[in-house]
Amino acid sequence: MNDPAPASASARAGTRAPAPLWRSQLATYLGLGAVLAGMVALFSSLSEYFWSAETFITIANEIPALAVMAVGMSFVLIIAGIDLSVGSVMALAAAISAAAIVQWGWTVPAAAALALATGLVCGTITGTIAVAWRLPSFIVSLGMLEAVRGSAYLVTDSRTQYVGDAISWLSAPFLGGIFGGISVAFMLALLLVIVAQLVLSHTVFGRCVVGIGTNEEAMRLAGVDPRPIRITVFAVTGLLAGLAGLMQSARLEAADPNAGAGIELQVIAAVVIGGTSLMGGRGSVVNTAFGVLIIAVLEAGLAQVGASEPSKRIITGGVIVAAVIIDTLRQRMDAANR
């Protein structure tokens, strides 16, 4: 009909322009960045050789498996699920590819594909069961944790499989070492973090993941079927756990059926330190990467300092909580200033 009165319209509609996106994005990394910097400074002062390119390269080459699984777990937590089976899946994928290379004489690419496929299948099973019967993913993935670990024992006959350097190109220096000794696996993990962040914040799929994690019913009524999306998230997480298994056996040149026992808590810790909520709907992959770094630096630093086992545990526990407290306080400050 007629025009809305201009005065009232402008009063009602958005007044201030939002702060530039990149600035608010960058600010979210401040808290965890500070924790990380503090830890590096502390360990450098405690241990003679900590502040060295070698140390950092070593750390960089240690994290890909954890990082890759944490990327998948970020999506799982954002969609308000949880996946406890990643450690087992990682072990099974490594074991199967080792068996394929050593026992069945497969070529390396075929075996690698098999490892990834194994992870994919495991993840798909978890996701499908959880979705089909609308069960909590906690319990489904706990069941998978046990069953998949059992399968890993079965495949390897409970013995570590020696693979040799067939797939060690994954852990070899990237581009013949132009970045120091930074490995191919690290570069792959880095790439994955970036791609995953883009997918999360810039694709329809990512938007649906966030939406389902926030309010599944609202998404359903908005015409998004949550089921295939949920399954996809678990399937991809399985796939990434499979990739982590490959990375691990490339580095160890062996597949240990016990590998990754209990690593799920570490993976989840990394994601949660990165500010992703266990209740779903909120999270960032880049922050997860910070969480991974914090855990890796802590572990490496404590080992270099040669802390006793009890103090290692106590310090680790303290740092995990402190990191989250600092990050939370920073976020609140930030929210108050907006």
Binding site: T58, S158, A303
Partner: protein
């Protein structure tokens, strides 16, 4: 010139055996404070091979002169040791022997200082067999099946039983733990009411087995042997609830390993020329030997 720096990397320091090992090493370092510095580390749980590799890498990054290692896995650690050796670091293997084939494939020589787990287990088994007769039934509670020393101990137990004509009615894993050992032992006792002995791969599981025997009301009727001779079993050995355990001188193993590394550093012996094996003692520990 700095003192040489030696890294001692063990399995779980939450495990009594390795705590003893660590204590021995620290005492030795204290006594030789001007000869070397020690960096002792252990992993969180015994199977966390990846974590142990990280520790080796951190040690290399810290430019240690030697690494004395109790590997959590006999194959998976070999590649990282090879790269350490290539950097001129002396590597000595203690406790759990590295896989010969893997070493050969990497073309390296790593001296082993440690006990023969199979022999120790066999000794315990033979001591037990003397109280039993052919045809008796026993159960074996193994450690984590993937662990090399677990496998060795099981083999030793089996060998001794076979030699004495004793039937092994059940073999299950107690995951090295007291609680799991207890559950498994309780199951075996119910399923095989005629079981006369339980052979445990370590003393924690033996403790669990003793509790299961008590719960089943069979104290004194089922014999138990363990391995490692930890402090907590002393009263059990004394009153006969446990028959025997195996002492393998944890403290000494690390010290021998360190001394070997020290000598090699001092004499600038190349890794390839180090002796292949230095067997350490395994001794039966019973009521009488305490």
């Amino acid at each position: 010139q700095d003192k040489p720096k030696i890294a001692l990397i063990m399995k779980s320091l939450a495990n009594e055996f390795f705590r003893t090992m660590e204590d021995g090493a620290r005492a030795h370092q204290k006594a030789n404070a001007d000869a070397y510095t020690l960096l002792a580390n252990g992993i969180k749980n015994e199977t966390d091979t990846a974590a142990q590799i990280k520790m080796i890498e951190q040690a290399v990054a810290q430019k240690v002169n030697a690494i004395v290692l109790a590997p959590s896995d006999s194959k998976a650690l070999v590649p990282v040791l090879k790269s350490a050796i290539d950097k001129g670091i002396i590597v000595v293997n203690i406790d759990n022997r590295l896989d010969a084939a893997a070493l050969k494939e990497k073309n390296i020589n790593v001296p082993f200082v440690g006990p023969d787990n199979r022999l120790g287990a066999k000794m315990a088994g033979e001591y037990l067999a003397r109280r039993l007769k052919a045809g008796d039934k026993v159960g074996i509670i193994e450690g984590i099946a993937t662990a090399f020393n677990g496998q060795q101990r099981s083999l030793g137990h089996h060998e001794a039983m076979k030699a004495a004509g004793i039937t092994v009615a059940s073999v299950q894993s107690g995951q090295w733990e007291i609680e799991k050992g207890n559950t498994v032992a309780a199951g075996m006792l119910r399923e095989h009411p005629d079981l006369v002995a339980l052979l445990a791969g370590n003393d924690s599981m033996a403790l669990g087995a003793v509790a299961a025997i008590k719960a089943a009301g069979k104290t004194g009727k089922v014999l138990v042997v363990g391995y490692d001779n930890i402090g907590a079993i002393a009263p059990l050995l004394a009153d006969g609830r446990m028959l025997a355990s195996v002492e393998q001188y944890a403290a000494k193993q690390a010290v021998f390993g360190i001394e070997l590394a020290q000598k090699a550093i001092a004499a600038k012996t190349p890794q390839a020329q180090l002796p292949a094996v230095m067997q350490t003692d395994v001794v039966l520990s019973t009521k009488d030997s305490r």
